[in-house]
Symmetry: C2
Amino acid sequence: MKDLFLLNRDVTYLNFGSFGACPKEIFDDYIKWQYLLESDPVQFITVDGIDHLKKSAISLAKYINCNYQDLVFVSNPTYAVNLLAKNISLSLNDEVLSTNLEYGALDRTWNYYCKKQGAKYVAQPISLPIASKEQFIEEFWKGFSENTKVVFISQITSTTGLILPVKEICEEAKKRGLITIVDGAHVPGHINLDLSKLKADFYTGACHKWMMTPKGCSFLYAKPEFQHMLEPLIISWGYESDNPSSSKFFDYHQFNGTRDFSAFLTVPKAVEFMNKHDWKSISSRCKSSLLNQAPKLFDLLNVEPLAPLTNEFFGQLCSVEINTNFPEKLKQLLFEKHKIEIPIMLQGHKKYIRISYQAFNEIRDTEYLIYSLKDIASTTRLLTI
Amino acid sequence: MKDLFLLNRDVTYLNFGSFGACPKEIFDDYIKWQYLLESDPVQFITVDGIDHLKKSAISLAKYINCNYQDLVFVSNPTYAVNLLAKNISLSLNDEVLSTNLEYGALDRTWNYYCKKQGAKYVAQPISLPIASKEQFIEEFWKGFSENTKVVFISQITSTTGLILPVKEICEEAKKRGLITIVDGAHVPGHINLDLSKLKADFYTGACHKWMMTPKGCSFLYAKPEFQHMLEPLIISWGYESDNPSSSKFFDYHQFNGTRDFSAFLTVPKAVEFMNKHDWKSISSRCKSSLLNQAPKLFDLLNVEPLAPLTNEFFGQLCSVEINTNFPEKLKQLLFEKHKIEIPIMLQGHKKYIRISYQAFNEIRDTEYLIYSLKDIASTTRLLTI
């Protein structure tokens, strides 16, 4: 399967989660758009590209089940959440309820915008391991107060790689009259995503991770009735436009200066690629394999899984707490000596090693990781097992 | 010369000004970086790419004569000016002094941020044609008041394609204690740029126009003593960083989520390309040729040049007022029937057709444009000459 990708064959690639990887077929499509752009930049950027963008949005909307007019392409979920955090006006003492398992860049984003408005970002502590969905939900809502106005939550957490019950959270949030924002950076192409059922007010996902487009292709979905709240993060021609299109949401957020938006146009090819190779089956196999292999890591590192070891909580990611005082150095040694690409990340004061399983990963990759960790533990002070 | 580029040979390309065009050699370099990224996205985005970015910044800094640490790469000048306008705090009634010749997206940006703070964006009217540098400067400062805090001005205007005396404006602004921001979108690779002599507090330029990199490569320069004023436009890991680099300016503004930053890395190749092909001589020839050819357009459209017809005001762009009530349709017909790519734009209530001269343009391009305009004037109601 690795032949489908452009990845360096010498590296054991166990970090699909951070930035995905683009298969050759999708990459060729990317280059095709870039050539087309350069064959007449004016026609492409101002005329034809807009049609192509529409086709790409329609393809994506079909894939995640929403109306294409409720989507705009953005570079990444960080951009999308900045756009939202800038725009959702909070009063003094208002609260944004979240978890202590969120992505660090977005914790920073919410803290920044909350502080500006005298509001508070509540990163509700979640006990790990999570005992059950019910326990998670109960714990999450302990962070609720009469000041809570917004819920912000990851559908799959980054450092801890856990699937969270965001559908249930969104339903309860609506009963409580809250705005819901779901960070689905790790979701599209990874676990099933149906926006019509999830019913978040705002949702952002990356296509450049598990949908395997080139980097810089992500989306922001906003329910029609919430789109009017959003001013552009970057003001450009679409703001108070002389030639407005039929969608202010599109005009405000889709264009913000000259750039190569070819990555946005690769979604149809990515969907085609996944269909052609029956990627759903591949993904299922990866998930089963991960559930089978992960216990070897728990045993090695002498820890429990972060949640019940089922596909309710685990997809193609599994994070395992690891006992090291030198996470950066350990990661570096794994790469430099053992040629293993795997992240070791902090959440709070704990460190986690996160394994990704993608089409090209095999059981021997886990075994080699275990061998390498043992080697490091026995020859350095970077790791205690 | 057109063989150096990827442009469609069937089109008479007279609009290099809007989005440049990327020569094959530079485009190949772009693709090379993108392949390298996909060979190990984690290594590239988090480790090696940062070194490559530094090398690219050093190359750019040498080209425009500043310290590389005072530059960050941004997608485009619109991004850079949004970043500045968001951050420069204005009090009630403070004024940002500009001209009525600025780029529409940035007029929108300043109006938006000024309005938020109760400040005022003063688009000082400039009489056209400009009689002399001195007359321009005198007229510009008529917009000054005791409330003026910031000067924002294009070094080369977009719709009207005029070189403005920004060095003199910046010098006078400093005497008056104002912050100076120069929009040099059309400058790098077009006319000589020496930031050490220009002495603007902030300067933004596009590399994807006349420096011919792929789209989405631009820069923001900030004087060291002004960098502390700037919070990120997009909050990410670099804000209140756990692992700060030696430069807060870099940490705050260089990274804002996953994207393909290959375009930023093509600057060394673009500089090499320009040196190898003696692009300075080519640019000089284009400028002379434009001064020689433009009068044919003035005669046809029965107007005067917008400033004295010398290289003090004109580079490789020349805008000519055009008498049409249907600028969009006229532009479209020129493209569809005559295969000419040329913009027709509004500034205030006037319409301008703007010709660009690049290496591959020949005298017969102007002649063909004139022939086509005559054809349209005689067969449609789109144009009166």
